[in-house]
């Protein structure tokens, strides 16, 4: 922790009378019924690195898009260096000295570095003089900030880390004083990330203000001077990094809410249903998303995977469910009921997984769990539409599917109980009930369930939890992935914590605390605790 304390000398040394680089007052923004930002206040001192942390969908990116002129806030005021300013478009933001490095780079892939740098910041109608000046300036910037890139290389030829440097150079070329980076390390290797942090420290020392958006606690602790936490569109805290801890930040991020009591008896675990051995997954951007994990799930138990989202849980669920991201390389072994699963070959598809007794309630129900424009009764059959009870091999038995759908709708209390209604027209909770009904009533040996209650109202949460426990009591195995710590703690029989593609440790929900899990979720190395199963 000494390093962080030393670093905070930076902003403290700034003259007291200098207005903050950025001041947001009461910023609100709604997209339809979704309140993405609610009355946000934020102050960032000049010459500091400020972290904004929060889960996916907490409203971080929306806030930064407002600052960069992508969205107009519904209300609120923005001050840059003490002056109120209306940021109506990106040009205004650039003129105000704001530069943004987006998560998905905004580069023209078949242009050279130099062309990308000058695009939109040309000196005149002719290209040659602009290119010449940019070349000189680029050399200066490269020396000043360790930002070496070959100016004549096309973007396609560059590594992701170098592409990011081009984005930073673009902002600096436009004389940005305030640099916003949205999840900058998501696509970087650890070495590239370290290099990036050196660059950012160098920029800070030159008096630039940097905003770092991330959901990785380690990065916040490592590099920021101050940090703000967002949750569900609200700014819940702004603190000095030196005066906080990963546990506190994790707690602020995930949020405490009413602990839902789940009525369940102790688990009666049987034989292993799923055995995962040394599983690795490298995605097509060459980032290792799963780094050699091993675990078992036995019949009659719920294993919960806790973790801040983006630490490999999604990839694990998709891989088990039979639809890993395109281009992903998988190694290791998975046994299902003692027999190995095909991980990358012809029989690694979702249909085969279902046939092997793996049911899946995907994390993203709107994209992966349902077809939003299709009726509820059709959605009830998806994935199982070739099974004998729904189909004779050529024709769907519409009558059988409908009858079955009506039964599921009744048993799962889907409202309104109308099988002809398109999935889109149900509320989030009722959409989720349709998916859960489809998967649970198949009675799978293993149920994969991701974020079962995201965006689901309290009543439906309780109902869905009950069904999961019932499935367990029927002797089935359940793998639960959730970013809701309360849900993990109340529902699981065992808890595994994932961080950065690894399992940091296993805990017994009866004896562990949210604080302890929070530490593991933040990547603080596991020390064997009493009571671990």
């Amino acid at each position: 922790m000494t390093a962080e304390t030393a670093k905070t000398g930076g902003p403290a040394a700034a003259p007291q009378d200098m207005p903050p680089a950025i001041e947001l007052r009461g910023i609100s923004k709604a997209f339809g019924p979704v309140q993405a930002n609610k009355d946000i206040n934020l102050t960032v001192a000049r010459g500091s690195i400020h972290g904004i942390i929060g889960e996916n969908g907490a409203g971080k990116s929306t806030l930064m898009s407002i600052l960069y002129g992508f969205y107009k806030p519904d209300s609120g005021e923005i001050r840059i260096n003490g002056t109120p300013i209306q940021i109506t478009d990106s040009m205004t933001a650039i003129r105000a000295g704001i530069g943004m490095v987006f998560q998905h780079f905004k580069l023209v892939r078949n242009f050279t570095v130099l062309e990308n740098i000058i695009l939109g910041a040309e000196d005149g109608p002719m290209l040659r003089p602009s290119l010449a000046r940019a070349r000189t300036r680029l050399r200066e910037l490269a020396e000043e900030y360790e930002l070496q890139v070959d100016p004549d290389e096309t973007i396609d030829e560059l590594s992701v880390g170098h592409q990011q440097r081009v984005e930073i150079l673009k902002a600096l070329y436009r004389q940005a004083d305030i640099l916003i980076l949205d999840e900058p390390t998501g696509v970087l290797t650890p070495a590239e990330a370290d290099h990036l942090f050196r660059i950012l420290n160098g920029l800070r020392d030159e008096g630039k203000t940097i905003i770092l958006i991330t959901h990785k606690l380690r990065e916040i602790m490592e590099i920021t001077d101050t940090v703000s936490v967002m949750r569900r569109g609200e700014m819940v805290a702004s603190v000095r990094t030196a005066e906080t801890s990963p546990e506190e930040l994790a707690e602020l991020m995930v949020g405490r809410k009413v602990l839902l009591e789940v009525d369940k008896s102790p688990a009666q675990p049987g034989t292993p249903v799923l055995e995962v051995r040394n599983l690795r997954l490298i995605d097509d951007e060459k980032v290792e998303r799963i780094r050699g994990i091993s675990f078992d799930i036995r019949a009659g138990e719920i294993v919960g995977i806790a973790g801040v989202s983006g630490n490999g849980q999604t990839q694990l669920l998709e891989l088990l469910g039979g639809f890993p991201e395109k281009g992903a390389k998988v190694s290791g072994e998975i046994l299902m009921n003692g027999q190995s699963l095909d991980l990358s070959g012809r029989r690694s598809d979702a249909a085969t997984r279902r046939a092997r007794g793996i049911g899946h309630v995907p994390e993203d129900r709107q994209d992966e769990g349902l077809i939003m424009d299709f009726a509820a009764w059709e959605n009830v059959a998806f994935g199982y539409h070739n099974t004998p009870e729904y189909s004779n091999g050529i024709w769907l038995d519409r009558k059988a599917i409908r009858t079955d759908a009506e039964g599921k709708i009744e048993r799962f209390d889907v409202r309104p109980p109308n099988p002809d209604l398109a999935a889109r027209n149900f509320s989030g909770g009722n959409q989720q009930k349709i998916v859960v009904a489809r998967e649970v009533e198949r009675n799978p040996d293993l149920l994969l369930i991701g974020q079962p209650t995201r965006g689901v109202d309290i009543g439906a949460i309780e109902f869905i939890h009950k069904r999961i426990v019932e499935l367990r009591d029927a002797g089935k195995a359940v793998l639960l992935v959730s970013v809701e710590l309360d849900e993990i703690m109340s529902l699981s029989d065992r808890i595994l914590v994932m961080f950065d593609g690894m399992i940091m440790g296993e805990r017994d929900p009866e004896t562990t605390t949210a604080g302890e899990l929070g530490l593991l979720m933040a990547g603080v190395t596991d020390t064997p605790a009493e009571g671990a199963a």
Partner: protein, 321 residues
């Protein structure tokens, strides 16, 4: 085949390729900016009709040319509003423009002239006349260079020279100017242009407008340069051939010149030798006339190597969160 025949065929190729070249460059501007345009055909047809009509009514070919450009621009604007402002499907908008032009030209033509959709034959000041370049006659007798200069290079209408000048001009504009850089960027990754603070909408409208002007020139040339008046469906698929040439050209101006020359040459050969005899086999004229279209199919089927279209082509730009 003697030298003179070759010169004549090439001369004919130049005339025939001109509308293709103009339309191909028109498509190049539009598609390089990310707006697919299968309405080239319709715009040319509309331009041919308005140019011939105004030229016939006023007897002034320059007014005809202006009207041709205006007619084509009007349809470009429709395409722009549909596909840029309202983010509609660019293919559907293009198809609609083709149908619109096809019906409207015949309808209006019949209403104005009562000749079954044709315009009266144009003559004199209502047509573009051939330009004799200086010293054409004096140089005619110099071997080789003489006929090339006097017959091949000299003696075309002004629009032919304009079309050929458009090639280096387009190259220069695309690769040497700020506008060109932005235009190419907006067709590859509009978000990069948008985040740089430049209006995607304005750039795309500019490209679509240039496309309209060039189609206007192409159509006007068809009706007042190549032929002497408007005939129903006189574009005869040239807009689509231009699109195929654009793919063949891999969206580059010099490539467009080469590709359209190839099509022009085929058409010229077909015109010259309706029943080509190769040894004992006589190739029927129908086949010869179909050659440009057959080549189009071959090109579109991808037999000419990998052509990478502008990455953002065909997709309306929506700001993402």
């Amino acid at each position: 085949m003697d030298f003179n025949t070759i010169i004549q065929i090439l001369d004919s190729s130049v005339r025939l390729m001109t509308p293709l070249l103009l339309a191909c460059l028109a498509g190049l501007y539009s598609e390089r900016a990310g707006v697919f345009d299968i309405g080239l055909e319709g715009k040319m047809l509309m331009a041919a009709f308005s140019a011939a009509t105004v030229a016939a009514l006023t007897g002034n070919v320059w007014l005809g040319l202006a009207a041709g450009i205006a007619g084509s621009l009007a349809l470009s604007l429709v395409h722009g509003v549909a596909s840029i402002t309202f983010r509609g499907n660019q293919l559907i908008s293009g198809v609609a423009i083709n149908f619109l032009a096809s019906g409207l030209t015949v309808l209006l033509g019949q209403k104005i002239f009562g000749l079954g959709g044709r315009t009266p034959n144009l003559s004199g000041g209502a047509r573009f006349s051939e330009i004799r370049l200086p010293f054409a006659d004096q140089l005619r007798d110099v071997p080789v260079i003489g006929p090339i200069y006097a017959d091949l290079i000299s003696g075309h209408t002004i629009l032919v020279y304009v079309a050929f000048l458009c090639v280096p001009a387009t190259w220069w504009l695309l690769y040497r100017t700020r506008f060109g850089l932005r235009l190419r960027a907006v067709g590859e990754n509009p978000a990069s242009v948008d985040t740089a603070g430049v209006s995607v909408t304005r750039l795309r409208y500019a490209a679509v407008a240039i496309c309209g002007v060039l189609c206007g020139l192409a159509g006007a040339y068809l009706a007042t340069g190549l032929s002497a008046g408007f005939v129903k469906e006189m574009t005869a698929g040239r807009g689509f051939i231009a699109l195929a040439a654009l793919i063949f050209a891999k969206w580059t101006p010099w490539g467009a010149l080469f590709a359209t020359f190839l099509f022009g040459l085929l058409e010229a050969i077909a015109n010259r030798y309706p029943n080509l005899e190769i040894g004992p086999v006589t190739i029927p004229s129908m086949f010869m006339n179909a050659l440009p279209y057959i080549l189009t199919v071959i090109i579109l089927a991808g037999f000419v190597g990998r052509a990478i279209p502008p990455r953002a082509g065909g997709e309306p730009y929506v700001k993402e969160r």
